[in-house]
């Protein structure tokens, strides 16, 4: 909130030219800063009467209202100030912060863009805008904003990490890696940069390196009070299979924000990765309790129940998730599995085909489709789907098993045995079939 006051004064400076008036307005600003809002308003009243509708006074009054929690009035006042003076960057910044308070990110982004248009070197606006753009997934613009700042000033390690994260999100791992390393030059214990490097290692398949980074970050963030950072850490740790540190981090985040559905969802996923369907079920149920329409929560609960073979209830949650735009395409695959188990083969096939349309290389859906055709004794189509599955992922044991089953039914013993031998070879390589009916798809969270 102090930024609102600061911006109020800045705004005032651009308009008020009379020294005594400036002094009086500064006095108002001080009172606001000290939270003496009644006195501030009293002091401001005669100034406003003298110059009704002046952007500077309107802006200060908006600041008072904002501090009083009267956000809609504050918004109206800031907008009034901006309408009077559309170059009044202070009022625009105030608006941006107000919108952040109101969780209206798009409006905040608009105002920050305007500030930067008017004052391209406004570091505060640039940093905040970059942060918001990143959070909203506008990685290109985020990169552009930070890169422009980079031309005129040395970036903070935090901003370097954010830029690295944005590049990484765009798939530019090399640029990201350079930026993380640069951030580490400034501060060797930069947990964000180390976490970024962990992500890069994971992406390169260097899981050992990734684990080392994660371990280092875990030490550095032992006392972290930032739930967001711990959450991010946990997601990356889960993705490299370091479930215990992830669970620790998430449990800490939940001590800080016990009812945060995202944190709970991630914790549920951590338990799921640990193979504990029962603990994860409890947590996903809690997510849905908190957010009955949380599509991811519904999906994961459905998924867990599916793996417990509780098909009836799994279907309920999966269907709810499928109705949401926020769900993932794999939900149709899961629903297909439920239909398959409930002997509704036509529905199963339709759902698997829908999945394949959305995700043509999703091997599990191909296998399931092949399996459904096999159940219907349509061996030609079964073979097509299963052979496609093997082409997509030659190391998927379930595809080979279903092919073995198919060849055995076609009395082609040699090929059936060959497929079973492939499974044995995969097993020797450490690739074993998942014990559950399904595996968590790559596109599902985190």
């Amino acid at each position: 909130m102090f930024l609102l006051i600061l911006s109020a004064i800045l705004g005032f400076q651009t308009v008020a030219q009379q020294p005594d008036l400036v002094q009086r307005l500064e006095q108002v600003a001080t009172l606001i800063r000290e939270n003496r809002l009644t006195e501030a308003e009293k002091e401001l009243a005669p100034i406003a009467r003298a110059a009704p509708g002046a952007p500077a006074t309107t802006n200060l009054l908006g600041t008072i209202r904002a501090k009083q929690g009267r956000l809609n009035e504050a918004e109206a006042l800031f907008l009034q100030a901006v309408r009077k003076d559309d170059k009044f960057t202070g009022a625009r910044l105030n608006l941006a912060y107000l919108y952040l308070l109101k969780r209206e990110h798009q409006k905040a982004i608009f105002q920050l863009r305007e500030v930067l248009r008017l004052e391209p070197d406004n570091a505060e606006a640039a940093d905040k805008l970059a942060e918001l753009l990143f959070a909203d997934g506008h990685f290109d613009e985020c990169i552009s904003v930070i890169e422009k700042q980079r031309q005129s000033r040395a970036l903070s390690p935090e901003l370097l990490v954010m830029l690295g994260d944005a590049y990484f999100a765009k798939g530019a791992a090399t640029e990201a890696e350079q930026l993380y390393l640069l951030a580490l030059e400034g501060r060797l214990d930069n947990a964000g940069a180390l976490l970024g490097l962990a992500q890069i290692s994971r992406a390169k398949g260097e899981l050992r390196e990734a684990s080392l980074y994660i371990t280092r970050v875990a030490t550095l963030t032992a006392d972290s009070k930032s739930p967001e950072f711990l959450y991010k850490f946990a997601l990356i740790a889960i993705s490299v299979g370091m479930i215990d540190p992830a669970k620790d981090a998430l449990e800490r985040t939940l001590k800080m924000r016990p009812n945060d559905p995202s944190f709970l969802l991630a914790l549920g996923i951590a338990w799921l990765r640990r193979g504990d369907l029962f603990e994860s079920e409890k947590i996903f149920r809690r997510v849905i309790e908190l957010q009955p329409n949380n599509a991811r929560g519904q999906l994961h609960l459905g998924y867990v129940l599916l793996n417990q073979k509780k098909y009836g209830e799994a279907r309920v949650w999966l269907e709810k998730s499928a109705q949401s735009n926020n769900s993932i395409p794999e939900v149709f695959y899961y629903l297909g599995l439920v239909a398959q188990e409930q002997n509704d083969d036509a529905r199963a096939i339709a759902l698997f085909e829908k999945t394949v349309q959305k995700l043509p290389n999703y091997v599990h859906a191909r296998v399931a489709l092949g399996s459904s055709y096999m159940k219907l004794k349509d061996y030609t189509r079964a073979q097509q789907e299963l052979e496609t599955a093997v082409k997509i992922d030659p190391d998927e044991p379930k595809a080979h098993y279903n092919l073995a089953l198919l060849y055995a039914r076609l009395k082609d013993t040699a090929r059936a045995q060959e497929e079973m031998r492939i499974i044995e070879k995969l097993k020797a390589k450490g690739v074993t079939p998942d014990s559950g009916v399904v595996v968590l798809p790559p596109t599902s969270p985190p």
Binding site: D276, F278, Q308, K309, K310, E341, N343, K375, K377, P397, K398, H400, Y401, N402, A404, L405, A408, R409, K411, A416, M420, I423, T432, P433, D434, S435, G436, V437
Partner: protein, 561 residues
């Protein structure tokens, strides 16, 4: 006036009779009232405890046994009990001699230990028991499987038995588990299938330890080499021919536990479904001419749905949905789910466990049997559970060594867990292994005997199953095999026609009442019963009395009540 009063009394009595008929438990009300009540050892005098020989070395055979049987060894019409115990082996020397036990049914709910008199103490490291009259002399014999050479006890008909193993040629050294009597070649003589588990001796016990506990635990069978099961053809002269090789059985080494003889393709030849631990299950289809073809993979019963072999233990077979085709059941270890394989015909099965799967998610199943506990006419399912690793609770969350029993009621197409409302015993936990089913009190509903590893057996009396009507059949073969395994019984009651194949074996290491109790539900008569014997002969019976046991002689029909 007096006459009038008498008349009104008669009317009243008639009304009462009608009311009492109306109040006769219907199928649904009777179902909820059937309870299994634990008969205490004090009441039954079954004072016996299994010694599992558990040692710090955790030798695998310690945790696998043992089985139990209901049998009528003296033909007095009452089921006796046989219990298998551990005994001396290469890794175990009992401090005091251990014995298997034969308990005679005293017809009053108590049993007397007649082991020594009968001469069936075993004296080896026992696993299971299979009961049948292999020589057709009218008295059931005992085949005992062991870790070590097996035993065939011939029933002398005078309350004693003679060890005829060597002479009969059914020693089958190694480690045998389940044995199944059935007639694979339909020659009217009972043949013998013997499941073999892994190659094992004490020197081959790898070090399986839990670093946190710093103690050994039982190794997973995956670490041991498989061995082939055996098939013995009954020559009819008291001896058997080992036909494992020529039948094709020996071509498939396994780690076999439960086995059931059934007819999955309705060709009149008995097939074998065999559960394997950490290996694919076998479905041996009887091709005739003494040959079996293993089709487990193609049939979809060999592996779990991801192509991973599971830890199959107990098995059974029945036509649970009445579509005329034999379905299969196999119990696995925790987290693997138990499988109910629905027979989709053409030797293809699909796993449709329904409610059984989530209920058994964390359990490990051994003894199991399909039987009609409430006499409503359809087969229900009883499961006996227990984890093989006594230290499992310290290693796997939510899994315990001792586990509860489960009872599932057949609802037509699927099964419903009714354990919670079927007796206090379902709230207890056991290290369950064997399960035998039989009507030990001859009251027309099927009771249960459970053998526990390292514990006393549990005898459960069925209370209320006989509220529905029933008829018990004792099938006496003249041309078919003496156990009438393979006979198809069809009956009609209350407008409903039902069909049952008399299977061989099933469950785990155990043997059951050879009689067949047919449930009639609330129907007040059984319209007809048809017995299609394995020999091809057909007996059709009408006017069969209800709620009693009857003897059916092959080719002659009903002979005695």
């Amino acid at each position: 006036m007096q006459y009038q009063r008498k008349l009104s009394l008669l009317v009243l009595l008639a009304l009462l009779a009608i009311n009492s008929l109306a109040q006769k438990p219907s199928r649904s009300t009777a179902r909820g009232q059937v309870m299994f009540e634990e008969v205490s050892p004090q009441a039954s005098k079954l004072n016996w405890t299994h010694n599992n020989a558990r040692s710090p070395d955790r030798q695998l055979p310690e945790t696998v046994g043992a089985g139990c049987a209901f049998l009528d060894y003296d033909n007095d019409g009452w089921l006796d009990i046989y219990l298998v115990n551990s005994g001396p082996s290469d890794f175990f020397t009992p401090a005091t001699p251990l014995k298997n036990a034969l308990f005679h049914n005293n017809h009053d709910g108590t049993f007397s230990d007649v082991t020594d008199k009968a001469g069936v103490a075993g004296g080896r490291f026992g696993m299971g028991v299979a009961v049948a009259d292999y020589d057709g002399d009218g008295y059931v014999d005992l085949y005992i499987t062991n870790y070590g050479p097996n035993l065939l006890y011939h029933n002398n008909g005078d309350g004693t038995f003679t060890d005829v193993t060597e002479k009969a040629g059914v020693t089958a050294p190694g480690w045998s588990t389940c044995a199944t009597w059935f007639d694979f070649d339909n020659d009217g003589k009972l043949d013998l299938f013997v499941s073999s588990f892994v190659f094992y001796d004490k020197s081959q016990n790898p070090l399986c330890t839990d670093p946190t506990l710093q103690r050994r635990y039982y190794c997973v069978p995956r670490l041991f080499k498989p061995q082939s099961s055996r098939l013995f053809r009954n020559r009819g002269d008291g001896t058997f021919q080992d036909v494992s090789r020529e039948s094709g059985i020996a071509d498939h080494p396994g780690k076999s536990f439960g086995a059931v003889a059934t007819d999955v393709n309705n060709d009149g030849l008995m097939d074998l479904f065999v559960a394997n631990d950490t290996m694919p299950n076998f479905l041996f289809v009887n091709k005739g001419g003494g040959r079996f073809e293993e089709v487990g993979l193609a049939a979809g019963v060999a592996y779990g749905e991801t192509g991973k072999p599971r830890s199959g233990m107990g098995v059974d077979s029945t036509d649970y949905d009445g579509d005329g085709w034999q379905d299969l059941f196999v119990a696995n270890i925790d987290h693997e789910f138990f499988s109910l394989y629905h027979n989709d015909k053409d030797l293809i099965f699909s796993d449709q466990p329904g409610e059984i799967a989530p209920t058994t998610h964390l359990l490990s199943g051994w003894g199991l049997k399909f039987f009609d506990y409430d006499n409503d006419g359809d087969p229900d399912l009883f499961l006996v559970n227990g984890h093989p690793d006594d230290m499992i609770a310290s290693r796997v969350p939510r899994v315990s060594y001792k586990e509860p029993l489960l009872l599932f009621e057949n609802t037509g197409r699927t099964f419903k867990d009714v354990s919670a409302s079927s007796g206090a015993v379902f709230g207890k936990i056991f290290s369950g292994r064997g399960l035998a089913v039989g009507d030990f009190d001859n009251d027309g509903d099927l009771d249960v005997l459970i053998s526990n590893n390292g514990e006393a057996p549990v005898l459960l009396r069925n209370e209320g199953g006989n509220r529905n009507n029933w008829v018990g059949l004792q099938l006496v073969a003249t041309k078919s095999n003496p156990a009438a395994v393979g006979a198809i019984i069809t009956w009609q009651a209350g407008g409903v026609t039902r069909r049952r194949l008399k299977t061989g074996g099933g469950s785990y290491l155990s043997s059951h009442d050879p009689r067949e109790v047919l449930g009639a539900g609330s129907a007040t008569k059984i319209d007809w019963i048809e017995i299609r014997w394995p020999s091809g002969k057909v007996d059709k019976l009408t006017n069969v009395p209800l709620n009693t046991y009857v003897k059916i002689l092959e080719g002659s029909g009903l002979v005695t009540k």
